[in-house]
Amino acid sequence: MSEEEITGRSAREDILGRLKEIPKTVVEPRPDMPPLRELSLDREQMITTFIEKLTLEEGIVYRVQDGREAIARLTEIVVGEGLQKVMVSTDDVVASLDLPAWGKEQGIAVLTPRDSGDRDSFRDAVFDEVEAGITGADYAVAESGTLVIVHDADQPRLISLAPIMHIALVSVERIVPTYERAIEELYGDTKNIPSHVTFITGPSMTADIKGKPFKGMHGPRRLMVILIG
């Protein structure tokens, strides 16, 4: 298999060449569209909308005042569910709560990605060992109850995906009305674009067998969000 065949360079010229041969047609200007209703919501309304929408998708949302209350609520959840071992990311929100220390107090094993060392061990941990993943979120979008998570070295992808439960912590200051608000900030600087971003709106689900819907197909079966502030 030649390099050229593998990279398909001549295919590129072929394809683009054929497309470019065709004379351009005039395209109508885009029609006007009234702005989305969510854009006129104030912060409290956005929070209410966010909670309402995510709850409809069977996400569970807790509202707490501050970091201290967040820890208390987290403890309730984890102890209530009988969780023994969790994986946490090391993004700002989570880091500020010092969950490894909290874990020691509670007798819960709190792993961070770095504890695992290499990617395969990390992968083994999130797939087989931990019962929940705890992450922060970068934005909470009111229009559909959607979390926006930017993945980087402090925010691995699998923590919010592989464990059966995902607990997300997000400050109310990160709430935005629509997706575009988050996108503008994330993709505005073309020199510095995140490698991976996920929008999460509720637990994993399917209705592929007989049309019967259920949660937890491949991703988490339960999604809990702690809104701080």
Binding site: K24, D32, S116, P156, I209, H218
Partner: protein, 489 residues
Amino acid sequence: MEIRTTLFNEIAEKEIRNPYARAFLKAMPAAIAARRKTVMGSFPDPDAAQACGQAIRAEVVAWLPELLEEFEKNALARGAKILWARDAGEANEMVLAIAKERNVTYVTKGKSMVTEEIGLNDALAESGIEPFETDLGEFIAQQLKRPPFHIVGPAINVPVEEVCDLFMEKAGMEKPTTDPVELGYAARLFLRDKFHHVALGVTGVNMAVAETGTIINLENEGNIRFNKSSPRTQVSIMSLEKVVPTMEDAMHLTRLLSRNCTGQAISAYVSMDSGPKKPGEIDGPEELFIIIVDNGRSEIYADSVAREALRCIRCGGCLNICPVYAKIGGYPYGWAYSGPMGQVLTPLLLGLDRTQDLYRACTLCGSCREVCPAGVDHPSMFLYYRSKDVEEDRGLRGKKRPWKESRFFDLWSRAVTHSALWNLGFRLARPLVNRYSHSGVITRMGGYFEGWFRTRNLPAIAKETFHERWKRLRRETAPGGQNGRKGKP
């Protein structure tokens, strides 16, 4: 994937009598259509929102090469590797080469219609690399060796007993069950093990954003996210028309796609890749290959009518609303693409000669056109293909019409321009047709019209057609009317 487009009638006649298929088709599409209407209401002006989506897709078609170049440039800048494939063979060879170089023994795949179009699974299997479909419905369809029944629910018509047997045989399920939830969880365990150890994940692409070089996928299950997170190598395959201009455009289309597909405001997960993982990140692909597949589209592009097919964003809105699809389900369309959008695209990719029924089995009701967020005018496309058959168009592989039909329309066109001939024709036809009638009703007739009379009657041709009655009607009491005056408002 086997092409069975010439078996449309055979498969459709079987499916239309299949109680499982009919039960699902009766309920789901209508339910989704109703949800769609409600959720489109989240836009202050749903019609404007739809028109905006249509305008974006018009731009994509008009500027296709430039947008693809921009996408490539920006994706390369992010560290992605971009490959171009002229046809299915080239695309499959590329995937195989990537897999073999990395000693991959199996791949996990997210739902991707273009990979069905190019027959990727067969190519992989033939080379000893096992492909696992990981979308639950696709997994079931793949294991049963069936084509997808519906864009959203590829195996939603399969009886639970069959799924149970299948999972016990092929998915390591130990205890039999017909509970859909338990079956789902059994599949989850089986596929989870595959995700855990996979070295190469394959995905499709919902949108490729030119502005940033980002690929975007929508899903509810999470299997695509696994394919983008667990393996060291990710291969994402897109057909040309998946490109969109900006991230903002992508957000708008995400809303429209979700609403049309399943009646959701947004799917449970949307994932966006701009290049492979960055250094320091502990998961995600070290290499991201994006394969851009042509497979006949750049040729279609030269035809100013046919190229409109490239607007389609694969939302499935047209399937959910089509009254014909609601009777026959996805199988009769015979290939990777079903429903009205399949009727538009498949003839262009495979040739009109092998896809005759796809654009003829349609009442031109226009429901598809009405909901389409991309602005595809399906009925116009079908009429265009039908005219290309009559013209025996070589490019689209139009198929010559039966001699009797051509002759009929030649005679017809002579009569239609000469009313005396036209009316004479009716007068001659009347006794011939009416010999089948009793008491003004025809209950049976042979030949071409036989099908009508299986369940319907027809009035006999009137003893006095309207044309023949006019003389008398004209003379009847009319308020101050006179003959020969031209119609005025």
